[in-house]
Symmetry: C2
Subunit: 141 residues, 2 copies
């Protein structure tokens, strides 16, 4: 697994309010891929996403109660569904806690989740709409 | 504030055990700046840090109880103490919740913390030992 994070997602109570905070306080501009339910900011080679906390929990197949759920996920994107499956096979073989086996998801991609030993959420995804440069970074969204 | 994250820190129960997980499962190699109490991995233009969860809470001046504390921080590093002070003045003027005013810290740097409206922790720091490239990214640690 390359040492690379594609998206840091922060679970928020109200996406519009949180977006307003990041826009007005930080002076950041959301990307054109942002929608009503999710906001993206292009950072240094990766994306910061703001997403409703309960939706993030649902997406990762974990309970939304704060106790145990941190409301943050780290995404590692790959270039195909096959690469995602391959990494999950490798993780399972290593005894890692798989929260959600990779599956086709409503936004048109393919994604699964696992937890590290402290319950930090890692998503491994293939997103056909998020091009990666040669190094594997997202740029210029 | 530039759209940039320098370090993503994950609060962990046992730094050695968590490091072992990332090394054996992901195959990542910690940087030479890693110490007994903290592990760094060089990612795509930023660092992932593993740090004891109670220490992270203490560093940010927040209670360590999980309810409300997410055990994750996002660091935005600048090039001088003056730049850190300037950004905190700007944040305060915008009504942002300052958790810890910037101060000299034991590891030789200068750092403060604030919270976004969902209690995600942001650290703003000057670290004389962590060189930034022209773009402001950490590279080749």
């Amino acid at each position: 697994m390359d040492p690379r994070i594609t998206i840091v997602t922060l679970g928020v109570n109200d996406v519009a309010a949180a977006t307003q905070f990041y826009e007005s306080v930080f002076g950041w501009a959301r990307t054109s891929a942002s929608q009503e339910g999710i906001t993206f900011f292009q950072l240094n080679g990766f994306l910061l996403a703001l997403f409703k906390e309960e939706e993030l929990a649902k997406d990762a197949h974990v309970p939304a109660q704060r106790d145990g759920f941190r409301g943050v996920s780290l995404a590692h994107n790959l270039r195909s569904e096959q690469e995602v499956d391959g990494l999950f096979r490798d993780l399972e073989a290593k005894g890692v806690t798989i929260l959600k086996k990779p599956e086709k998801v409503f936004w048109g991609g393919y994604s699964g989740y696992f937890a590290d030993i402290d319950n930090h959420l890692w998503e491994v995804a293939y997103n056909p709409y998020l091009p990666l440069d040669q190094a594997g970074n997202v740029t210029g969204q």
